[in-house]
Symmetry: C2
Subunit: 323 residues, 2 copies
DNA sequence: CTGTTAGCGCGTTCAC
DNA sequence: GTGAACGCGCTAACAG
């Protein structure tokens, strides 16, 4: 019994000959170790929980792939739960994941509230936030600087001579994709001494159709913008098509830029100029950080565990010099 | 001890007053049931394994969402494993999933070989194939009729007066997206008494770029096709852009159709005419079937468990009457 | 309706 | 280098 355990777990204290015999028996009997029993005895399940807003959204599915690849590399499996950024659902799945004794938790969601933090604290397993961060910055996280990314995007427009720049924003309740990117827009304009025109800001819901709708509104303005900054690529693509459907040429008559760099960005005409957010890497780095935390290779929570990944402007064909 | 177990598991044999006291104690102590211990004792983990080729591929991530929604509804969680259609990796994850004592398995992959079936058999938990099927049709599965879907797509072209129809196929080793769709193409042409021209068939790798490359090849032919049937939407979109980049108008000068109906299909110009495959439903129905099998509500494997979901031609703007 | 007793299949001492 | 004994936290029978 114990010797078999040693063999299966690669414990060196086994005579090679015995080891061989055990392996033969394993083969002959079709023995398969029971990971549940092992988990109970060893208090480790080699499983991590990941809560994600929506796996069918390409942004998150790329992050998920990054997570799974690294998890795999360290011999972890992942339990995946969609929570649609609904706080109540998020808390619920965090609890069931904890009941299942996951060795760690990766959280991707909307705002990280005090209730979330309480839920995390009821367990002793490490938590890493992925593509979000709590306001107090007390929980380890990996993300990009959304505000700076938006700032850089708007700057591209500014440097191309645009001054009438509209924004298709996400909801300001959303800290990362919504609020932070809006702040980046404001600050870029302020830095250029351009007053904010409230008519130039409209809230979308991140979807293609909403990008189209908001854009139509901009076209009805007395003083049309000459460029549009969308908080996300999907809305930007909606904007481009709305523009084209109205007979406007992009980028000649209207420039469009956004943040994300989803795969589709290079699969539309004109190809979308955007600020790339390294989705796969965010997942991969977050998972790597979690493995360190699970092995206690690093302090529980310190500034060192707040990682900001770099973003990058990808120049394609949806931005032109203002005519 | 036992009474607590009854309360937690909603066993009716508990006096309401006692139940209340137990709940209070649970609250006060911050007790959280250990699902691993429960799994060991009850031999049920309320967890199902899902092996998927690549979660970052939008086709599969939609299926995954369907799976997870239904799993959630029946209080199951899912362990997700990417296997990239690599047989060796597939077999490996099937085994680790089985070691983790999942209550059932959902398999999405490339070909289902004898080795796969052997691996499934080493465990007694039910297996459902998702968007694939084994040749012998012995394992429960849910999918569409790929051959018929391709047949219908090519027929749309035929009925629009096209006779010179090229195909961007997937590899013929791939039973569903590759071989079956190619067969549908052949049969549609045969039914219309059009001989197969081998120059009109080229293999792509399902990606956008490959759709572009293959299309360039078709344009170099002495006798150009007037329409292209792509095995998947992504390659079709590549084809459209390749055509447009060469100065051809779609659909006026070349029609394009495919199978899948990924979200992007309606997010390109012209919008893609395609045969819709109900990705979300395939996942949802497969998971539902699996729950029935896990509860032994239905026979282990019978013809009843081979479900074929309907597909549907979505007419958009990439196909025109032959001029 | 409630408490007692055995396992579930493993890892981990501790002797040998 | 190997085996025996115990316990992980819970469910499932069985008494009471």
């Amino acid at each position: 019994m114990a010797t078999v355990s040693r063999v299966v777990n690669n414990n060196p204290n086994v005579k090679p000959q015995t080891r061989k015999k055990v392996f033969e028996a394993i083969e002959r009997l079709g023995y398969r170790p029971n990971a549940v029993a092992r988990g109970l005895a060893s208090k480790k399940t080699t499983t991590v929980g990941v809560v994600i807003p929506d796996i069918s959204n390409s942004i998150f599915s790329e992050v998920a792939r990054g997570i799974e690849d690294i998890a795999n590399m360290y011999h972890y499996n992942i339990i995946l739960c969609n929570a649609d950024k609904k706080k109540e659902k998020e808390i619920r799945v965090i609890n069931t994941l904890l009941e299942k004794q996951v060795d760690g938790l990766l959280f991707m969601g909307g705002a990280v509230t005090e209730d979330h933090i309480q839920a995390f604290k009821t367990s002793s397993v490490p938590v890493v936030l992925c593509a979000t961060a709590d306001e107090q910055r007390v929980i380890p996280s990996v993300d990009i600087d959304h505000e700076k990314a938006a700032f850089d995007a708007v700057n591209v427009l500014l440097q191309s001579g645009h001054t009438k720049i509209a924004m298709i924003s996400g909801t300001l309740q959303d800290p990362a994709n919504g609020y932070a990117r809006y702040q980046g827009y404001r600050k870029a304009l302020e830095a250029a001494n351009i007053p904010i025109d409230e008519d130039y800001v409209r809230i979308g819901n991140y979807r293609y159709e909403s990008g189209m709708d908001v854009t139509k509104h901009f076209l009805e303005l007395d003083e049309r913008p000459t460029a549009i900054f969308a908080a996300t690529d999907e809305m930007a693509i909606g904007a481009i098509h709305s523009l084209q459907d109205s007979g406007l040429r992009v980028p000649e008559e209207m420039s469009v830029i956004s943040v994300d760099n989803i795969r589709m960005a290079s699969m539309v005409r004109p190809q979308l100029t955007t600020v790339a957010q390294p989705m796969y890497d965010i997942g991969a780095v977050a998972m790597r950080l979690l493995t360190k935390l699970m092995n206690k290779e690093t302090k529980d929570a310190s500034e060192l565990t707040q990682v900001i990944l770099p973003h990058e402007v990808i120049h394609r064909n949806s931005v032109a010099q203002r005519s």
